[in-house]
């Protein structure tokens, strides 16, 4: 017998109206994160004069350009269901390599690629260890963290200043973005460009879609004939590259190489990604969310600076409380559908 033709049409109409509410569920976390960030600025501007100054807003990106790049790399890894703890250390290594090679008299245009290459190589090695030998990502990248930071100290336990003219020129380049004279540093522009490129790769290339697939279900992705190995090795390599690039931006920002740079920054990067609505179990999330996450952490820092009278321990307590408040707010704003 033939099924009545009105039936599917009817059910489709019902389901479609429901979709408007539920179908876009996956955008909820990231939009909530964005909303919270906006709220912070509104509240901040009520409380502190000068908080909503365009330059203050842009400085969030300027002061956190390296963290944005780090978080973008980590986004790939987390989306693919992994984790990368080595980013802070690779950033430090990258600053160290830059400073050290410059001191050794290398031309700056060779130094930057060398630093990027080193970070990428560490990422690649981690990816291979994780993929080919089935080592858990957490432990492999923890090893990578020890290794990269250790390498910094092997190079030098002292901090190495950078006085290369090209580096200072780059560091001081400002890109005007608003008519009022508000500007971004070169580092921030690069960071935002990296985020844009990452979004493109994630949504418009096969590699990017495979990253989501592997994060959703690795075994399924394998059975679907996706290049799971390439994806897994790829995301760690990319993250290594991003960490190294973050290191170069950090070098521009700070003009020195030091093995103690970026201590604990890997956790900041992971936190930023997660605050931006990406699920640690993989498969759900957006680069935009990670950028928002970084800016949120930056906003917390900005509030602490603006508050200006906190003692050290209150700084920490308030930082933790703000983090909690943001997450709670994000929760409260999201409708029930977001589970």
């Amino acid at each position: 017998m033939t099924p009545p033709s009105t039936l599917p049409a009817l059910s489709a109409a019902v389901s479609r109206s429901r979709d408007l509410l539920e179908g876009r569920r996956r955008f909820i976390p990231v939009s909530m994160a964005g909303l919270v960030l906006v709220l912070v600025f509104v509240v901040g501007s009520l409380r502190y004069s000068g908080f909503l100054d365009p330059q203050v807003v842009l400085n969030l990106a300027v002061n956190n350009s390296f963290l944005i790049v780090l978080a973008v790399g980590v986004t790939f890894v987390i989306l693919a269901g992994g984790i990368d703890l080595s980013t802070g250390a690779v950033l430090a290594l990258s600053t160290m390599i830059c400073a050290w090679l410059l001191r050794e008299g290398w031309p700056p245009l060779l130094v930057i690629p060398a630093a990027l290459l080193a970070g990428t190589a560490i990422g690649l090695a981690q990816g291979c260890i994780i993929h080919f030998y089935g080592v858990q990502p957490f432990i492999a990248t923890l090893g990578g963290m020890f290794f990269a930071r250790g390498l910094c100290f092997v190079i030098s336990t002292e901090s190495i200043p950078i006085s290369d003219p090209l580096f200072s020129a780059l560091a001081q380049t400002r890109v005007p973005v608003l008519p009022g004279g508000a500007s971004l540093s070169l580092g921030a522009v690069i960071a935002l460009a990296v985020a844009g490129a990452a979004a493109y790769v994630l949504h418009r290339t096969r590699f990017g879609r495979s990253v989501y697939a592997v994060g959703g279900s690795e075994s399924s992705a394998l059975l679907m004939g996706l290049a799971v190995g390439r994806v897994k090795v790829g995301v760690y390599t990319l993250s290594g590259f991003c960490a190294a690039l973050g290191g170069v931006l950090y070098t521009l920002y700070i003009a020195s190489g030091n093995g103690l740079h970026g201590l604990g920054m890997e956790l900041d990067a992971i936190a930023a990604v997660v605050i931006g609505g990406t699920l640690l179990t993989g498969g759900f999330g957006y680069v935009l969310g990670s950028v928002i996450g970084v800016l949120t952490l930056g906003a917390i820092q900005a509030i602490l600076v603006f508050e200006g009278t906190l003692s050290s321990w209150w700084t920490r307590i308030v930082a933790g409380t703000l983090l909690f408040a943001f997450i709670l707010l994000q929760r409260a704003l999201a409708p029930r559908a977001a589970r």
């Binding site: 017998m1 099924p3 009545p4 039936l7 599917p8 049409a9 009817l10 059910s11 489709a12 019902v14 389901s15 479609r16 429901r18 979709d19 539920e22 179908g23 569920r25 996956r26 493109y200 949504h203 418009r204 290339t205 096969r206 879609r209 495979s210 989501y212 697939a213 994060g215 959703g216 279900s217 075994s219 399924s220 992705a221 394998l222 059975l223 679907m224 004939g225 996706l226 290049a227 498969g283 759900f284």
Partner: protein, 508 residues
């Protein structure tokens, strides 16, 4: 042009060992272009493993694979796809986080000017779905859809590969007759184009309807290759089960013919139970010893209805009373304490804990009900586990085997066993016979019937309408996410009557 005698796939002497088990022992098959070939065998016979060897998921210990006459070593699913072998695996192997469209087209996404075009992809996927008479929103996440829809999506994906060889591992296990019809038409179309199709199923009717030839496996070994026309059902079952075939007759004789106990008063009442977007508020009475079947088409809301009853989802409206006392439905705990049991249709993600052993999975619900402080005594546990492994013919019968290493049908039996052990007052079974073999199916039906004779009420959801009618005393018919009628089944109810009800229902 190749000669017709050249098999598209020829596997021979395949041996595959898993730790402690030899899953395949000299298995093989010959698959010719333009034929639909059935691969048959009991649960755990090695069908899925043979398929996974063919697609490169497993490396065989020894044996030979020829594709189009050429000896090959297949290094992985990607390699298999490139050699023209498309596969629908038994367990749905898609990514729940991605949209339906992406799942269909992953790896072959249509590109626009700026890389992958989401729009084109959705359009293409919608076309493909429409080609199979499926109306679904391809932009929604796959995980939002029922397991049946997911199965259809994985078929769509494989079909779209336009391969020379199409492997279908139990594709119809959660489909109802309309979808099966559509699938068969599709298979027939592909076959006539010269595609070789390997079809694994436990529905022998489907084998006789669709397949020209068949290969039978038993205990990982090859029993033989037969032309469908030359072997009768009885004989075929004999090949599959070996010397145990006699047992089946005994089972079938005892199943299904018990008198309905119509007089009992209901102990469970659901009133106005509903959830927006899930199922419209409905009423239901359940009496001890009665089997109630839920009939409806794919997506009609059967699963949603029973999930509410069990507290698996939180209802928006209405409630449930057991023995006149309301049961809170915030979590399944209270319903379980009230004597309810629910066997989910999605054993992989809602049922089993893959890395735990058979024994642990069997005992899970009972242990959860007892609380952590009162572990089931070792002796009781061993007895129960042994009893249910035997009763459900779970293979391998080693209680400490991790469930993830079992064949699909055996996993289903473990899930069922978990709830049978609880001796519930109401047993809710959502597609309990998905993927289990004839012998086990008869066994399950017998167990269900036996339970009901002891006073257990049963709610039975199955996409096989015949099965529902054979077992149930009463049939609740659903359509478009609402209950449209309840029919008594005292033997007189047939499938046409129910289908007619579905077709005209809701108009009242």
């Amino acid at each position: 042009m190749e000669t017709t005698a050249e098999p598209a796939v020829h596997m021979s002497g395949i041996v595959k060992d898993f730790p402690g088990v030899r899953a395949l022992d000299g298995a093989g098959l010959r698959l010719r272009p333009g034929e639909v070939h059935a691969l048959l065998g009991e649960n755990g016979a090695g069908k899925s493993t043979l398929i996974k060897v063919l697609t490169g998921v497993h490396r065989p210990e020894s044996g030979e694979i020829r594709v189009a006459g050429e000896r090959v070593e297949i290094s992985g699913p990607l390699d298999a796809e490139r050699r023209g072998i498309a596969t629908v695996y038994q367990e749905v192997n898609l990514c729940p986080n991605l949209s339906v469209a992406e799942n269909i087209l992953l790896g072959r996404e249509p590109r626009g000017r700026f890389g992958i075009s989401q729009r084109r992809m959705n359009r293409r996927a919608a076309e493909l779905a429409a080609g199979m008479d499926l109306d679904l929103d391809v932009t929604r996440a796959l995980g939002d859809h029922s397991i049946a829809v997911q199965q259809l999506v994985s078929i769509l994906r494989a079909v779209d590969l336009q391969a020379r060889v199409l492997v279908l591992d139990e594709p119809t296990s959660s489909l109802d007759r309309d979808e099966v019809r559509i699938l068969f038409d599709l298979v027939e179309r592909l076959r006539s184009r010269g595609v070789a199709i390997l079809f694994v199923t436990h529905f022998l009717d489907q084998v006789y309807e669709l397949c020209q030839r068949m290969t039978v496996l038993r205990n990982g070994g090859l029993v033989g290759e037969f032309a469908t026309a030359e072997v009768g059902q009885r004989e075929l079952i004999g090949h599959m089960l070996g010397e145990q075939a006699g047992e089946l007759d005994r089972l079938e004789a005892s199943a299904g013919d018990d008198p309905p106990d119509a007089g009992a008063a209901p102990f469970l009442r659901a009133r106005g139970l509903g959830r927006s977007g899930g199922i419209a508020p409905y009423d239901l009475d359940v009496a001890p010893g009665r089997i109630t079947g839920l009939a409806g088409l794919l997506g009609s809301g059967r699963t949603e209805a029973v999930r509410l009853l069990f507290g698996a989802d939180r209802p928006d409206t209405g409630g449930v009373e057991v023995d006149g006392r309301p049961v809170p439905l915030r979590t399944p705990r209270a319903p379980i304490a009230a004597g309810l049991a629910y066997c989910s249709e999605d054993r992989k993600s809602e049922g089993l804990v893959a890395e735990l052993s058979i024994a642990d999975n069997l005992m899970l619900a009972m242990q959860a009900a007892r609380g952590w402080l009162r572990p089931v005594p070792a002796k009781t546990r061993a007895e129960l586990v042994e009893r249910y492994i035997a009763a459900l013919r779970i293979r391998p019968a080693a209680p400490e085997t991790p469930v993830g290493a079992l064949s699909g049908g055996n996993q289903q039996k473990v899930l069922l066993g978990r709830w049978l052990i609880m001796q519930p007052r109401l047993l809710i079974l959502d597609e309990p016979t998905r993927g289990i073999d004839i012998g086990a199916k008869a066994e399950v039906q017998r167990l269900v019937a036996a339970q009901s004779r002891q006073g257990t009420a049963v709610l039975f959801v199955s996409s096989e309408l015949e099965e529902v009618l054979r077992l149930s005393h009463r049939v609740v018919v659903l359509r478009d996410r609402r209950v449209i009628s309840e029919l008594d089944n005292d033997g007189g109810l047939d499938t046409d009557r129910v289908l007619a009800e579905i077709a005209e229902g809701g108009g009242r």
